[in-house]
Subunit: 218 residues, 2 copies
DNA sequence: CGGACTTTTGAGCCACGTCAAGAGAAGTGG
DNA sequence: CCACTTCTCTTGACGTGGCTCAAAAGTCCG
């Protein structure tokens, strides 16, 4: 079923391959698979029998209402696990942001291995904490605070030292933060005008005054 | 440590007592403890070594920023489990909404029992799905849609057939939905004026036109 | 160089927030 | 049981942050 909607490896071997992250612990064992830009990994209503780990690239998980409004629930970056759900069916859609490589594993297989099961459990709880943080941002922060929070967290996750290379478009950021694309764009220019950040091309951002930026995140 | 901040049972026996939910499965085994209105169950920064199940009453879990803004992450109603976290320390505060009885268990004890561990896992994933739904509401719904969604979900969780008895104040609803208390109040009267709901006292709401209300939830 | 797409900028508007006051509701003491 | 206090909820008038609509300026590729 997965095979029908996915494009197969173009850069890596499509055969089964054990995956070893840096610390030597198997976070998720499965096949490595490559996707092109904007491809669907799974869709709402699909059966939720696989879990994924991002090797390179990035993924957005989103829901779209009947009237077309879209909310991005989460972005997943290299090292992140996604696709673990309570329900047997997907409640959201996952799409790649650019050229992306994932490790794909059967959920039941991963859950059967104690070491991997432990990792899945940790992952779910960490994801829950991140989701609660997101609720905080959406519930009570202003546009500037949302953008600042987003940039700072993204830089931390990507390991950037006072700079980020955005893997997503303005529209994606807007739909993640509950804003419009215009507000995202305006807020970024305003942060630049205030001297907090510096834009080099629209995807590369340098933190000119990290402390002031952190202050906006409370 | 718990004993220092809690009030002990006034209605039930404070001694250890096995807990058996309706289906006969032990969802959480521990001591039953009663709380008065507005009491703290745990606070931000406390060690997160216990998990809880609501027997009666209700609990809010919230975070407060330095400037006083408050976000309620979730309400917990009879049957709900709360207090499972990734981190060793609490990232939020839990308080009772009224007279409330909880089952308290050590997390390590519950996790050691396979049946309970399975329940904890299910609970965490269900909670994650609910949190993602909350993100959807905060990210892209209008005030009227947020209130409608909130009321419909609350009625479903409390088992009310087209009516709800609100266990929380207007301020709590506002801080849960990312609105102000005035907007919550105005929106409720507006829903009543439109004939969708009927308020009998400010805590009791009857759904006059359930279909129209459901439409607001998409 | 040309075409499609993304981002930025501008002008005006509106949903929701803010500030303020009044109306209930609930607890307290006499 | 009733005054009194206190807290919560409602309503009104007004302000504003972010949305909408529109167009220009980049940016990316073939």
């Amino acid at each position: 079923m997965l095979a029908q909607t996915h494009s197969y490896a173009r850069s890596g071997p499509p055969a089964a391959a054990p995956d070893q992250p840096r610390d030597g612990q198997p976070s998720l064992i499965g096949i490595t698979r490559s996707f092109g830009r904007g491809q669907e990994v799974f869709g709402e209503g699909d059966s939720a029998d696989h879990v994924y780990r991002v090797v390179s690239g990035a993924v957005r998980v989103q829901r779209v209402l009947a009237d077309g409004r879209r909310q991005i629930e989460e972005f997943y970056l290299p090292g992140d696990v996604f696709g673990v759900e309570f329900s047997a069916l997907r409640r959201a859609t996952a799409e790649t942001l650019g050229e992306t490589t994932l490790v794909v594993a059967r959920r039941t297989t991963a859950a059967a291995d104690p070491a991997q099961a432990e990792r899945l459990w940790d992952h779910a709880l960490r994801e829950l904490a991140r989701c609660h943080d997101h609720v905080l941002t959406l519930g009570l922060r202003s546009a500037a605070e949302r953008i600042a929070t987003f940039l700072v967290e993204l830089a931390a996750r990507l390991g950037g030292d006072d700079e980020v290379e955005l893997p997503m478009s303005r529209q994606d950021i807007a739909d993640y933060l509950g804003l419009t694309i215009e507000t995202v764009s305006r807020t970024l220019t305003q942060l630049q005008t205030r001297g907090l950040i510096r834009l080099n091309g629209c995807r590369h951002i340098r933190f000119a005054r990290p402390a002031a930026l952190a202050e906006l995140c409370e």
